[in-house]
Structures are given as C-alpha cells and as structure tokens.
C-alpha cells in the first residue's frame, strides 16, 4: 500500500496534479446563527422567483436556507454547465456541482456586492470545480494510459444523445486540454487568468488551447 502511495505521489503523468491547481481559500465562514426565526419565516414568505439575487444573498447570509435554495434553483443550470464541461463527466459533475453550492454557502459572507453576484458565483464555481476535480480524481486513473480514460469518456458521451454536439466532443478531449479550452473558448477567460487558476505558464495555456482546437477540428472533419 505504501509503495502505491509513493508511486502515486511521484507520478509525473498526472494530468491535473496538486502543483497545477491553485487552492482557493478554505477558511470556513459560517453564516450568522443569530438570525431570528420569526424574521426568517417572514422572509421566507417574501421569497419567490422575482426576489433579486442580492436580497436572497443577504437572507442566506443570515442562515435562511429557503433563500439559499432559491439561489440554487436560479443558478444551478449555469453552475452545472461549468462543472460538466470542466470535468467531462456526468457523474463527476453532480458531485462537483454539489461542492460548489456547499462552498457558496460557506463563502457567502465574503460577497460584498462590489461585483454582480453571478460574476462572483461564476468565479467561485470555476475555482471550486477545479479543486474538486483534483480531490475526486480517482487514484487509479493516474496509472492508466490517457487513451483508456478518453475511451471511457467517449463511451459516456455516446450514452447522452441529448447533449449539444460540441459538449460530446469536448468530453473526448484529454483533461488538461479540455479544462483550458472550456475556460478560454466557452467561459471567456484570458490565458493569463487561466494560467493563474491552473498554476501553469501562459504559454502552456495557449498551447493546450490550440491543441484542443486542432483535436476538435479533426473530430469535426
């Protein structure tokens, strides 16, 4: 067992290893527990699909789960799309999406309203998704040739006919290439930002992006 751990730690072929991911601040921020129950009940009655994000955030900060659920219902599609495309796996996306909303609950106190909530949530989700991918990466994948994992994703892609054609092609890309392509081409990040998020060189990000485009074009031809 110890041998295996050593091999795991020294394996240089890992596509998303711990050196390449920037862990976001993990300080636990619990929403205030001083919220009055009566106030929560009153606020609960006010919550609906028209309640602005900022109001929901303020309610959720005080521990109002109904407000937080409304935020979840409103933004789950966007967050799930990020998780699904970054992870390239339907199963992983479920878990990672859950992680994003749990982290959102913990970090809500830090949202100060200086930017749009959606912008802030988007950045938080990208960071959390990448951290979760690192944490959830199945250890035996590190020992398998890239082709086996790509084959596995390909099989999964073929099972989901309802996905957009490009989503199915993205699933077939190798992990690092896929992550860079999704962040750059779909989520609109600059290579400098991607380099910071993934802790890689800007040149590496550009190379991976061009590799992804090339592979996708070959798949399309």
């Amino acid at each position: 067992m110890s041998n295996l751990v050593t091999r795991t730690q020294s394996d240089k072929t890992v596509t998303l290893n711990s050196n390449n991911i920037t862990d976001i601040d993990c300080q636990f921020q619990q929403p205030s527990k001083n919220a009055e129950t009566d106030q929560n009940q009153a606020n609960h009655d006010q919550i609906d699909g028209l309640t602005p994000d900022e109001t929901l955030v303020n309610l959720a900060k005080s521990g109002n789960k109904a407000a937080f659920k409304q935020l979840y219902l409103r933004h789950q599609g966007r967050v799930y799309a990020i998780c699904f495309r970054l992870s390239g796996s339907h199963d992983h996306a479920d878990e990672i999406c859950q992680d994003c909303f749990v982290r959102l609950w913990q970090k809500l106190e830090q949202f100060n309203g200086q930017s749009q909530f959606t912008t802030w949530l988007h950045k938080l989700s990208v960071h959390q998704a990448i951290n979760s991918m690192k944490a959830k990466q199945r250890f035996w994948h590190r020992f398998l040739p890239d082709s086996s994992i790509t084959d596995e994703n390909e099989q999964e892609a073929s099972r989901h006919y309802e996905y957009h054609r490009l989503d199915k092609l993205i699933m077939k890309l190798p992990e690092r290439t896929r992550v860079v392509f999704v962040l750059s081409a779909i989520e609109g990040y600059q290579h400098q930002e991607i380099a910071e998020i993934l802790n890689i060189a800007v040149g590496t990000s550009k190379t991976q992006y061009h590799r992804a485009k090339q592979m996708l074009q070959e798949m399309l031809s």
């Binding site: 619990q30 219902l73 599609g77 966007r78 996306a93 999406c97 609950w105 035996w140 490009l166 074009q217």
Partner: protein, 197 residues
Amino acid sequence: MKKNQPQQENLDDLLASLPKEISPKADLWQDIDDQISAKTNSNMTQNSMVKGDSHWKMIAMAASLAFVMVLGWKLSTPNISSTETLTVNNALSNQSTEDLIALVDQIAQTHQQQITSFEDNKYTVGMQLDNQTNPFNKGFSELELASKEIQQALKNDPNNKQVWDLWLWIMKREIELLQQQQRTPMNTAPSTQGNQI
C-alpha cells in the same frame, strides 16, 4: 490554412450555439442541504470544544499515525504469492496477446466467483444497510468500479505489467474488504430473530 477555414467556421458555429446552462439529471438540492447542515453542525461542535485539549489531540494524532503505519505495513507485506501473480508473470513472458486477453477474462471470472461466494454468505443487518449508510458498501463499490475500468484498460493493453499489478492489487483489496466486513461484530454471528431486517 485555407483548408481549415470551413472547420474553423463550423467550430465557431458550434461554440456560438452552445447553451450557457445545462440542467442536472437529478435533483441535487437534498444532498447539498444535507452537507450544509452537517458542516454547520460540525462547525458548531468545533467552536464549543475547549481549546485546552491540544495535548490530547497530539496524542490521538500520534496514535492514529502509528495505527495507519502498522496497517499500511501489514497490507503491503507481500503475501502476494497468489496463483494469479505467478500465472501472470509466467504468461507475460510466454503468452501471446490473445492468450493474455483470455487470461484477463479467466481471472475476472474466478474473482467474480469469489465475490459471489461472499455474497451468498451474507446474512446480517450490517450487510443489508443501503450503500449510502454502509461504509463497506461504498468502499467496495469504489473498488469494484476501479477493478472493472482497469480490466478494460488491461484488455486494450494486455502486456502492460504495471496495469496487471494494479488490477491484481485492487482485486486483492476487494477480497480483504469483504473479509473485514465479515469480521465486524454485526457479521460474526449467524442471523437470529431480531437482527435481520
């Protein structure tokens, strides 16, 4: 460059038509709610703990570390003189690719029979808990999934000794986990009235 132009346009078109949102297949809220509640409770417990117990924490950590080291040493001790390992080493040096693929299937079948024999002998409450509740089941499912994925990889590349080793190692852990499960207090005695659901 010109040759890539239509494909480039096609890729751009696909990017432009890509939906910004994708709906999850299942409702994730319940799990999120559970995790939030669990974390909130654990944080409250942590806050209420007395800070002066760092001495005991150190002792507990040292004891845990020692336990893990002993366990790790025990698990890594090579009693891998199993027939599978010998067969594989022999086969890798002598057999053709087709024979190796057949050997993968044969070993998988033998392993499945071993698993089934454990399944046939389970009879108590501990093994009847659902997957979410029973940590053994969760761990076993993870190992089983690993075993199947590695088996597939092995069939694609049957001469890869490292993948062979990993596969045998995973199957061994599966058996050990089932053995551990049977040794837990709930599973040591035959079922009697009252301990079956």
